[in-house]
């Protein structure tokens, strides 16, 4: 499991692979977001040492790249839990009892939205629309889309990921 280390201290062992990913995107026009997506896909977050490396590669300041990473909700500065549960909190899901489903998920996981469990098992997050608005309420559990959620179905789905 490379890359699951803390985002705080520079981790020298990440550098060769980061350099490869950055180089692989350097030919693109506007490579920043594709590079960050590729890094996060592999490392689970944006390791701190990546910021300076991207800045150097793109001839931009470190502050600028840091600003990009922090602007977008998707990019994490620290690794997420082994499982990520995203519950839609937007209007179409609200109209179908989505807030009760969200509350049940939070209670079942014992987590607030935005938090990761102490054992690093699960991260719980809000999402504003998965485009499943006619099969609401919905959630994304790891890569699995879940529509027409009920509190009962939430229990089943979450029991599945905790094992």
């Amino acid at each position: 499991m490379t890359g699951k280390q803390s985002g705080k201290d520079a981790n020298m062992s990440n550098i060769p692979r980061l350099a490869e990913i950055i180089a692989a995107h350097a030919h693109m026009a506007g490579p920043t977001l594709p590079t960050l997506h590729a890094i996060q896909a592999e490392f689970g977050h944006i390791p701190a040492e990546a910021i300076q490396m991207i800045a150097d590669s793109e001839n931009r300041s470190r502050a600028e790249i840091h600003g990009v990473v922090t602007f977008y909700h998707d990019f994490r500065e620290a690794p997420a839990g082994r499982h990520v549960v995203k519950v839609c909190r937007a209007e179409a899901c609200q109209a179908m009892g989505g807030e009760a489903v969200a509350a049940r998920v939070a209670a079942r996981l014992g987590l607030d939205f935005g938090a990761t469990s102490a054992d690093g098992g699960v991260t719980l997050e809000n999402v504003y629309c998965l485009g499943l608005c006619a099969t609401a309420p919905s959630a994304l559990i790891d890569d699995r889309l879940c529509g027409r959620l009920t509190e009962a179905r939430v229990e089943k789905l979450l029991a599945g990921i905790e094992r």
């Binding site: 506007g30 594709p34 602007f71 485009g131 499943l132």
Partner: protein
């Protein structure tokens, strides 16, 4: 004889178990010695029936739905493999039959990545015609159709293209806005997942029309299925010569790539979107310059919603008049309307402008899913107004909605039953603005947070009258002091909730008075 089944791979169908249904069909067919072929189509857009299984018969495709995996053995017992039982021919389902599908004609019908299917249903005809035309003639045809932007603002597409055609530039770009962040909307997603070559064709025509050789599709990271299908489609189209150095052998070049956002609603705003492709924070640019003059990387750029771009192949193939003959007032052609939230028949309903809101919600949509009375519908996403049933005679049309104090936006309609608390919805609108603000304007960045706090006081019953006045003042400031519609239009849901549903903002003091 092999039996052909269709089971959508649309994300919404997957979210309610389409893959499991495919497994069950394969298993059951195998058990019965029936040779089965399963085609993964896009969705027809009848989402309350998903997973919607179709079986090909000599009399056309027969529909079954919603199908759960455990239903499959009984459906086979009842003769599903021969097309017996079920809902009857798909095309005869009233929800489909009542539509005018110009843009979504193929979606749910074809296998999304089959070039043969696409070509067999009028695919590439619009592009072929465009290749034979002068750029200015293509633009004129689009102008004549009356097509207006489907991303929200309703700006005439032909006029936008003309500006880019006339703009001097060493390079030009076509950008498809597929950021679709509005809750209650899924048309862009459905189209990319169900008919991806269609978007490629629309963008290629735009490229020929304005002299752009490169296009970008910018979509949301929340749409991984759409991204994967679009990516595959771009590769197939390139290999087949529909993209590349000589589009359909015309000697003119056009190619494209897809870019994923990273969870920022404001990146749907066209200039924030361009910033994002360029690798910057998604902050809104001041206009002028217009993107048509100085857009992506500083070059003249057409940026259109994908429903605007995908209206164009039809317009070129069938003619601007055929398109413009449908519609209402200054809103010409069809709108893919999305019925969502608490609605019995949720889905995609493409129809000429002019149908009333009430017809959409009660007749097409069948009222609420919960069976309770409709209390409010939000039209046009999180920046759209809440309408009470008293305004259900409003025709679906840009001007009529503006006149009624709202907007049609990207065509999403979210229905709420009478359990909704409109003060909470107003609070959510402010909160959403606070979460998604790009931070450039104070009224949007700070005002929205003050709005949440003030509405919280109203909900708690503190100085209700004074705080309502404060919210109204704040909305005025946001309307006039914001650079873009995120801050500028958040007052729509807030004030419409306040003005149409005043009782929901007066609950607490009344309860106190009763004590």
């Amino acid at each position: 004889m092999t039996v052909t089944f269709y089971v959508p791979q649309d994300a919404a169908a997957l979210s309610v178990g389409a893959d499991e249904v495919v497994e069950a069909i394969r298993l059951e067919a195998g058990r019965r010695g029936i040779a089965a072929r399963v085609i993964r189509n896009g969705s027809r857009g009848l989402f309350w029936l998903e997973p919607l299984v179709e079986v090909a018969t000599p009399a056309g495709r027969i529909a079954y739905g919603p199908v759960a995996p455990e239903d499959v053995p009984a459906l086979f017992d009842a003769g599903m493999a021969e097309g017996r039982g079920g809902l009857g021919p798909t095309e005869d389902l009233p929800f489909l039959k009542a539509q005018t599908r110009f843009t979504f004609a193929r979606c749910g019908v074809i296998a999304p990545l089959s070039l043969a299917d696409y070509a067999a249903m009028d695919g590439w005809k619009g592009l072929a015609r465009a290749i034979a035309m002068e750029p200015a003639a293509i633009v004129a045809e689009v102008t004549k159709s009356g097509l207006r932007g489907r991303g929200g603002a309703g700006f005439p597409t032909g006029i936008k293209w003309k500006t880019v055609l006339d703009a001097p530039g060493a390079k030009k770009y076509i950008v498809a806005n597929a950021d679709e962040g509005d809750s209650g909307t899924f048309a862009d997603r459905m189209l990319m997942e169900g008919d991806p070559f269609h978007l490629i064709e629309g963008m290629a025509i735009a490229g020929l029309a304005v002299g752009a050789e490169h296009g970008y599709i910018y979509t949301r990271s929340e749409y991984p299925h759409a991204i994967a299908i679009m990516q595959a489609a771009i590769g197939l189209a390139r290999d087949a010569g529909y993209l590349g150095a000589s589009v359909m052998g015309s000697g003119r070049a056009f190619d494209m790539e897809i870019r994923a956002g990273a969870g920022a609603y404001v990146c749907g705003e066209e200039t924030a979107l361009l910033e994002s492709i360029e690798g910057k924070r998604g902050q809104v640019r001041a206009k002028p310059p217009l993107p048509a003059h100085e857009g992506l990387f500083g070059y003249p750029t057409v940026i259109n919603n994908i429903l605007s771009l995908t209206a164009v192949p039809f317009i070129l193939d069938k003619g601007a008049e055929t398109y413009a003959n449908v519609g209402f007032g200054r809103s010409r052609g069809t709108m893919p309307i999305q019925l969502a939230g608490n609605i019995a028949h949720g889905g995609l309903f493409e129809i000429g402008f002019g149908i009333t809101l009430g017809e959409l919600v009660n007749e097409v949509g069948g009222g609420t899913a919960s069976g309770k009375p409709v209390k409010a519908v939000q039209v046009g996403g999180p920046l759209g107004a809440y309408f009470p049933p008293a305004l259900f005679d409003t025709p679906f049309d840009y001007e009529a909605f503006a006149h009624a104090g709202g907007l049609i936006g990207h065509g999403g309609i979210v229905v709420f039953d009478d359990s909704v608390d409109m003060a909470k919805q107003a609070r959510f609108a402010m909160d959403f603005c606070a979460i998604e603000s790009c931070g450039k304007c104070t009224p949007c960045r700070i005002g929205s947070t003050r709005g949440v706090e003030t509405i919280d006081k109203i909900i708690a019953g503190r100085d209700v009258a004074a705080n309502i006045t404060l919210v109204e003042d704040l909305c005025e400031t946001m309307k006039f002091g914001s650079l873009c519609a995120l801050g500028g239009f958040t007052p729509y849901p807030v004030l419409s909730a306040l003005h149409h549903f005043p009782d929901d903002f007066a609950k607490a003091p009344r309860a106190q008075a009763a004590e």
